[in-house]
């Protein structure tokens, strides 16, 4: 499939998923009302106020949070897999997502999130940066980063920060509202997302993606051994640091608005690599689109599920991602033994 045809197919897939997400729901306005609402922008009959409110202020911002959040997590995963030269690396595995979740949980429990909508993203960003910095400090030896140590340190910190987050929740257990807010947020979900959340997620995604994009060729080179990358003109240590900070930003702005969303950062880069190959010039756009599609479809499944199921977005992505992760592990082990 040539590049133009591929672009058309992707654009059509995005449009179809967006229309289905906006127009097919368990309750409220459906596809007919969606067409009427879209037509009203071009002089058609106006839609009932409640239905218009539902599209414009409930579903559309939620769609944007899901799309940009999915894109950001997938991009963060692609960046981390290249910089750590490991196809199993992701924001979940190196402590970044756990740090972001801890920062966000702290902001909710301490009531900062009620005062300003930007408080949770900032606290998440601080948590992600602190956790990732600590991992880098722990893994640094002789001025270089041993990738295996980096991943092990990340895994250890992921568990430590996870325990701290649990402590934050249980410490304020007498405040039932705050605790339940945090628990629901930690499980990942896009309920009650507003235009503020959409703005933060989309701007965060675009800003950090724009910081990564000029370094796409360095991402290719970082997949080589550090000495080789160095000989080809890349300062591997500083490039890796910059790119991982960008991945932190992508993860934190998303996690703060969506809660814990597992496996998107791990699985999507693999799927994208199968479709377009490992070169980051095409891999990054493919990750952004596939990540967006995956999270939008997952959230759509949550919305269509019966309310008594209380299906959370993080649960849906984990149900999809965990078996794929195990499949990758098995395939990698078979590759090593053959």
């Amino acid at each position: 499939m040539n590049a133009r045809r591929r672009t058309v197919v992707v654009a059509l897939a995005v449009a179809v998923v967006a229309v289905l997400y906006l127009g097919v729901a368990r309750e409220g306005p459906g596809l007919a009302e969606l067409w009427q609402w879209l037509g009203s922008s071009f002089g058609g009959d106006p839609l009932a106020t409640m239905d218009e409110f539902s599209f414009a202020n409930l579903r559309l911002p939620r769609l944007l949070v899901a799309a940009f959040g999915g894109a950001a997590l997938a991009l963060a995963g692609a960046v981390m897999q290249a910089t750590f030269r490991n196809q199993l690396a992701s924001p979940d595995l190196v402590g970044t997502a756990a740090g972001a979740a801890f920062g966000g949980a702290l902001a909710i429990v301490l009531g900062w999130s009620k005062r300003a909508v930007i408080a949770t993203p900032l606290a998440s960003l601080a948590g992600a940066l602190a956790a990732t910095s600590l991992v880098f400090v722990l893994a640094r030896a002789h001025g270089r980063f041993a990738v295996s140590t980096l991943l092990l340190a990340g895994l250890a910190l992921h568990n430590l920060v996870g325990a701290l987050t649990s402590f934050v929740v249980t410490f304020r257990f007498n405040n039932y509202t705050a605790s339940s807010d945090v628990l629901f947020w930690l499980m990942g979900g896009l309920e009650a997302r507003t235009w503020d959340h959409a703005a933060i997620t989309s701007i965060g995604c675009m800003v950090f993606a724009a910081m990564v994009w000029p370094r796409r060729r360095e991402l290719d080179l970082l997949t080589l051994h550090d000495d080789t990358a160095h000989s080809l003109g890349v300062d591997a240590t500083s490039a890796r640091r910059w790119l991982v900070w960008c991945a932190c930003g992508l993860t934190a702005t998303t996690v703060s608005n969506t809660g814990g969303i597992a496996f998107v950062g791990l699985v999507v880069p693999h799927l994208a690599r199968l479709l377009v190959g490992p070169s980051h010039r095409v891999l990054l756009p493919a990750c952004a689109v596939l990540g967006a599609l995956l999270l939008v479809v997952s959230d759509w499944v949550c919305r269509l599920a019966p309310p008594e199921a209380n299906l959370r977005l993080g649960v849906v992505t984990a149900l999809f991602g965990a078996p794929y992760f195990l499949f990758l592990l098995v395939r990698q082990r078979r590759g090593e033994s053959s």
Partner: protein, 253 residues
């Protein structure tokens, strides 16, 4: 004036002093073999000469300028490297890997120009890697991956070439081809420094041998002098004898 010079280099890795005052140089037009036992510090010296490892003391200069003062891209246009191990877990094609050799010649975001395409094609042909250039590198044999790595270094068009065990995994024909090619590069004015255990193969073609022993430069000079029987006994602990009987045989292309 040396193109690349190492003065009294000391490198400690953990508690072990790997290089304990090494002096070495490479000039354009030279084909130098870096020899020594396992753990003598050959790879560490190559890494220090590349600037990939910061020494504890001593200096590395490239065209009389401290290596650390060079911008990474500027340095990459002067010096290319072929690593000991094949080095990516991702499924890049051979051509994509060789294209990475042009990184230092391209601006950020700049597409491949005609000069880049020409350099890539010539490098693939010179390394005899064109036949499998479009295949994912993870599906290639060790020798084919090695030839892709050599082609990537050639694509840089750098005047200095540093290679770490470049004949590992190569069959006899391609090992001979590689050595002949490196000798041609040196004759054409490039500087070539090879770390290798394959003394028989490289000693026939190189112009100089640097013998490392216990972290120091033990001998430095023409192959016949440096690889003397006495030095073989001291450094490698083996007796050397002139060819006799069926082995060793001299192979030619």
């Amino acid at each position: 004036m040396s193109a690349l010079a190492v003065n009294n280099l000391r490198v400690r890795l953990g508690t072990r002093e790997v290089l304990a005052g090494v002096n070495c140089e490479l000039q354009k037009g030279e084909f130098v073999l870096l020899a020594g036992r396992n753990g003598a510090g050959k790879s560490t010296l190559l890494r220090a000469m590349l600037g990939a490892l910061v020494p504890d003391s001593g200096s590395v200069t490239l065209h009389s300028r401290a290596l650390a003062a060079w911008q990474p891209l500027e340095r990459a246009r002067e010096m290319a490297f072929v690593p000991q191990s094949v080095d990516t877990p991702f499924e890049f094609t051979g051509r994509e890997l060789v294209t990475m050799g042009r990184h230092a010649h391209r601006g950020r975001g700049q597409l491949l120009e005609r000069a880049d395409e020409r350099a890539i094609t010539q490098a693939l042909l010179a390394a005899d890697a064109m036949a499998f250039a479009e295949q994912p590198v993870t599906t290639l044999s060790g020798g084919e991956q090695r030839r892709i790595a050599v082609a990537r270094a050639l694509a840089t068009e750098a005047p200095l070439l540093l290679l770490d065990e470049p004949t590992n995994n190569l069959d006899l024909e391609h090992a001979l081809q590689l050595v002949a090619m490196l000798a041609r590069f040196a004759a054409a004015g490039r500087g070539v420094l090879v770390a290798s255990h394959d003394l028989n193969l490289f000693a026939q073609h190189c112009t100089r041998v640097v013998l490392l022993h216990e972290g120091r430069t033990f001998a430095d000079g023409p192959p016949r002098e440096v690889l003397s029987s006495a030095n073989m006994v001291t450094v490698f602990g083996v007796q050397s004898a002139p060819p006799s009987g069926f082995f060793p045989r001299e192979f030619r292309l």
